[in-house]
């Protein structure tokens, strides 16, 4: 493959002898200066981008956390419970202790806390009162007939 016909060899030698003797010295500074400039610019851009990405991630996390907190508070009625829980637990503990004096104060308090927890966890649907469609006396008359 590298075999060149003999008649072309002198021309190849001539071409090899006519080669340019290296690039000008100032080209090195020019090229490498531009390379460094480009690398520094890309580094600055990537740092700026990563800073913005971090800020956006923090903002999104904060929003999600706020949303979940608000949902949790609204759905479980935690706000009302937090406001009155301590006083209510004390009152409930006192009642339990009065009913069951053999329980220690700490055990009564534990029972009060458990009772309150269960109270808030149990789902109690709020049903509308039954509507009276007719007068009861009319209804009794109708049944006795």
């Amino acid at each position: 493959m590298d075999e060149l016909p003999g008649e072309l060899r002198p021309l190849e030698e001539e071409l090899l002898a006519s080669r340019w003797h290296g690039p000008p010295l100032e080209l090195r500074d020019r090229v490498l200066g531009d390379v460094q400039h480009q690398l520094a610019a890309e580094l600055r851009t990537s740092r700026r981008e990563s800073r913005w990405t971090f800020a956006a991630a923090v903002a999104v996390s904060l929003l999600v956390w706020m949303n979940l907190s608000i949902s949790a508070t609204t759905a479980t009625g935690g706000r009302a419970r937090l406001a009155s829980s301590a006083a209510e637990v004390d009152r409930l503990a006192a009642e339990i202790h009065e009913l069951l004096p053999e329980l220690s104060a700490a055990a009564a308090r534990r029972q009060a806390i458990l009772h309150r927890s269960c109270d808030t966890l149990v789902f109690r649907p709020e049903l509308p009162p039954p509507s009276i469609t007719q007068d009861p006396r009319e209804e009794l008359d109708r049944l006795s007939e």
Partner: protein
């Protein structure tokens, strides 16, 4: 000259400026020589070498996939030189620039320098680039084949054909001058 899995590639891909300095020291002479042979103008050759290095910086993320750094660099050089040649073809020739171009040709201190330049300029660009890659770039036919997207045998025959054309042009030159 082939450097499969070149040890410089990871540092280049990581964007280390020292690696680009080493790359310049290793390849700039051959790239510049080939660009001079292809374009024939010193300022164009300098711009093309600079463009090759800037392209390397911009596409350094893909360097980990490169097998042959030499072929990769000369492919970039070929594309950049092609762009410069077509840009120059659209521009009007300024007398001063033409004089400067002639003064800074390869082979300026060679006895037949001017004849070689004229004969080279008469070759089609695809033959000029094969000679430039072989003579100035010191590429093997395997590497030239990679750059051109042809087999090594085709690259070798293109080179032989280009040399024959160049020899014919050189033989015809004195007759033309005598006329």
């Amino acid at each position: 000259m082939n450097h499969p899995g070149d040890p410089l590639l990871p540092d280049l891909a990581a964007g280390q400026s020292q690696a680009f300095g080493l790359l310049y020291d290793r390849f700039a002479g051959r790239l510049f020589g080939a660009a001079m042979r292809m374009l024939g103008r010193r300022e164009d050759a300098e711009d093309v070498v600079q463009e090759v290095f800037m392209a390397m910086v911009r596409s350094r993320g893909q360097l980990s996939k490169v097998d042959d750094l030499t072929a990769y660099l000369f492919t970039a050089l070929r594309h950049a030189a092609g762009r410069y040649a077509s840009r120059r073809a659209r521009q009007p020739v300024v007398a001063e620039a033409a004089e400067e171009a002639v003064a800074a040709q390869p082979g300026q201190d060679h006895p037949r320098g001017e004849e070689l330049r004229t004969a080279m300029a008469a070759l089609p660009p695809e033959q000029r680039e094969v000679i430039a890659m072989k003579i100035d770039g010191e590429l093997t036919f395997v590497q030239i084949g990679r750059v051109l997207g042809v087999s090594p045998n085709t690259a070798a025959s293109r080179y032989r054909y280009a040399l024959k054309k160049l020899r014919s042009a050189l033989q015809e030159a004195p007759e033309t001058a005598a006329e």
